[in-house]
């Protein structure tokens, strides 16, 4: 990168590293859980397939984080997807327990 290293640049990089390490990893897990509950196959089988591909998903997500332009877009997307998928999973599991 030809850009000079400014405090702002450091912040842009640091924030993305943090996003890739913590919320992105969390997102892969919550999205994964939601998929295992949504997929129309036996749960244990869905878990095996989703877990198998989870690293590929994580890799793609990290690549997006380092390409996306604004930090706000990155963080808000991560938070929203985590909230929606974990809420959905929670609802599914509650429904399953109620039956």
């Amino acid at each position: 990168m030809a850009t000079t290293i400014t405090p702002r640049y450091r912040w842009l990089v640091f924030s993305r590293i943090m996003a890739a390490l913590i919320p992105a990893f969390l997102l892969i897990n919550t999205l994964g859980v939601a998929l295992t509950l949504l997929l129309p196959v036996a749960q244990h089988s869905a878990i095996a397939w989703v877990t198998l591909f989870s690293f590929a998903g994580y890799c793609a997500l990290v690549m997006w984080i380092f390409h996306a332009k604004s930090l706000r877009l990155i963080w808000s997307s991560l938070v929203i997807v985590i909230a929606v998928t974990s809420g959905l999973s929670w609802w599914f599991i509650q429904m399953g327990n109620a039956q």
């Binding site: 990168m1 842009l12 990089v13 993305r16 892969i28 897990n29 919550t30 994964g32 859980v33 295992t36 509950l37 749960q43 244990h44 089988s45 869905a46 878990i47 095996a48 397939w49 989703v50 877990t51 198998l52 989870s54 690293f55 590929a56 994580y58 890799c59 793609a60 990290v62 690549m63 380092f66 390409h67 996306a68 332009k69 999973s89 599991i93 399953g96 327990n97």
Partner: protein, 540 residues
């Protein structure tokens, strides 16, 4: 971070690649030599006799005698017959009896004998007794190969997580690497004979692209290997954090035998009987091991794991009744396609199925990966060299350059030191096997320090000479200390022992050539070096 996707990915490739590349290099070096772990074991334990052509019958007979005598009331026996490359000796393991007493004690964490007593032995086929391996206490090839995922000194949990992050960075590195090379095929055929950063980049591309399928396979399967450590959350979360349910779900993926005791002492059917039944099967040669659950109880069951080529870890499972010897199940170990895929990946990673040709292919693919990391790290510094000459050396550059020298070449010297230590440390020494490893890391530490105090190009050359001598001297040290030297191994046609010494010589010659090439370049780069020194003088 950039308008262009390729530019962002180039940035990510550069930094994801660089940040832990020295540990990744360590993983690749130890993992690559790990494809010859048993051959290295052989070289490092020259006193241990080689047993060949031991039949499964003999292995089982000897093991059964020993286990019936020493551990009749164990929870489980495992007998691994001596037959393949990775099982040169008859190995037995037994899991001690779990009683209510031991469970209670374990809960209270009071007594030392709370843990059931397990055993692990290599048996001498002729005497039927544990083989004496104490002549030369050594970590052998196994310790070396295990370093590529436990990194040796770290706590295992920390090491696994660190290795997970690094492997993930490797995956990101590979995928971004592919993305930024639009002209992947034309790049493959491009090698500009010139010096400087462009030549290093060409070399990096050549090595990466030619071994891309291997690198992708080894990285992804590496992640799959420890999926339960790195990605357990999906399974646990899917069952609403109910660990018992998650455990039950896991057991639905594979066929696992779980045998409760009846409490009645039973008379286990002779394992010879089982072997006889197996011998009529087509896959008799592929029998991997025998597991006996609750051998002293009327509920005893015998599980025979039969492996086939690639799916060696997802083998066929034969279950026999322990009292009658009757075949109860003949089924695949894996019950789920995704798990089947995972096991194939793991088998590909381990390469246990590989014959000599494929094994060498694995070895060279590993070397290409090692070279890919090394050339990538060197390219990072080369690219900055010109700029540095103008603006003066910065600390980051110096740091990377020193780490590069001390790791890319220095780790190889350290590896040689590990083999030297095996031959030179006194045989009766306390903690000898540990000291072999300490020697390796002490030498690596010294190699990391050396470039800090030397002009960098000189440091490269000097370390190449040291590595060259360290490897060239291995057959000589071997000649002076043991009978396993080339003058014996070559006439006897013992290619495992001879192969080790020959590879050491080849490695030594390789580093000598590298040193000579660097020597030729020294005067030509005096200008840059002069500029560097000048800049350094101005800076200080």
């Amino acid at each position: 971070m950039n308008d262009s996707f390729r530019k962002s990915m180039t940035w990510l490739h550069t930094w994801a690649g660089l940040v832990f590349c020295w540990i990744l290099y360590f993983m690749f070096v130890t993992g690559t030599v790990g494809y010859f772990d048993n051959e290295i074991d052989r070289w490092m334990k020259p006193e241990v006799p080689v047993e060949t052509n031991i039949s499964i019958d003999d292995s089982v007979r000897v093991a059964e005698n020993y286990l019936r005598r020493e551990a009749p009331d164990a929870d489980r026996w495992v007998i691994t017959p001596a037959q393949w490359r990775e099982t040169p000796h008859l190995r037995i393991f037994w899991q001690g009896k779990t009683t209510e007493e031991t469970t209670e004690n374990a809960a209270e964490e009071s007594a030392e004998d709370a843990e059931p007593v397990n055993g692990n032995e290599i048996l001498d086929i002729n005497t039927g007794e544990p083989m004496d391996q104490s002549v030369r206490d050594t970590g052998g090839g196994q310790t070396l190969y295990r370093m590529h995922y436990i990194l040796h000194y770290l706590d295992r949990d920390i090491a696994y997580r660190l290795v997970g992050v690094i492997t993930m960075l490797m995956l990101v590195g590979i995928i971004t690497g592919v993305v930024i090379h639009r002209k992947i095929f034309s790049d493959f055929f491009t090698f500009r004979r010139q010096k400087g950063p462009r030549a290093w980049l060409d070399m990096h591309n050549l090595m990466s692209i030619s071994s891309l399928p291997f690198q992708l396979m080894i990285t992804y399967s590496g992640l799959i290997f420890m999926v339960t450590v790195w990605m357990p959350g999906i399974a646990v979360g899917s069952y609403g954090f109910d660990l018992q349910k998650a455990d039950e779900g896991l057991h639905m993926l594979v066929n696992e035998e779980h045998v409760e005791r009846s409490g009645e002492p039973g008379n286990l059917v002779s394992l010879q009987n089982i072997v006889e039944k197996l011998s009529s099967r087509d896959d008799f040669e592929n029998v991997r091991n025998f597991e006996v659950f609750q051998p002293g109880d009327t509920n005893a069951k015998i599980v025979v794991n039969v492996s086939k080529d690639l799916s060696s870890d997802g083998a066929t499972q034969l279950v026999f009744d322990g009292m009658t010897g009757e075949l109860i199940h003949d089924r695949p170990f894996v019950k789920n396609n995704a798990v089947g895929v995972a096991f194939i990946m793991i088998s590909l990673h381990e390469g246990l199925f590989a014959g000599p040709f494929v094994r060498w292919l694995y070895f060279f693919s590993g070397l290409l990966g090692t070279g890919m990391i090394a050339t990538g790290a060197i390219y990072w510094t080369q690219k900055r060299k010109v700029k540095i000459a103008e603006t003066g050396p910065d600390r980051g550059y110096q740091f990377v350059e020193s780490l590069n020298i001390g790791t890319i070449v220095g780790l190889m010297t350290a590896l040689a030191a590990y083999f030297w230590a095996n031959r030179l440390l006194p045989l009766g020494m306390e903690g000898r096997a540990d000291w072999e490893v300490h020697c390796m890391f002490i030498i690596w530490g010294l190699c990391l320090l050396h470039p800090v105090f030397r002009p960098k190009l000189n440091a490269w050359m000097e370390q190449c000479w040291v590595a060259s001598l360290a490897f060239l001297a291995i057959p000589i040290v071997n000649l002076l200390t043991t009978d396993a030297h080339l003058f014996n191994s070559l006439p006897e046609g013992d290619w495992v022992l001879a192969g080790f010494d020959i590879v050491a010589i080849a490695t030594g010659i390789g580093f000598a050539i590298a040193a000579l090439l660097l020597k030729n370049r020294l005067p030509k780069t005096q200008i840059v070096k002069g500029a560097l020194q000048q800049a350094h003088a101005q800076g200080s």
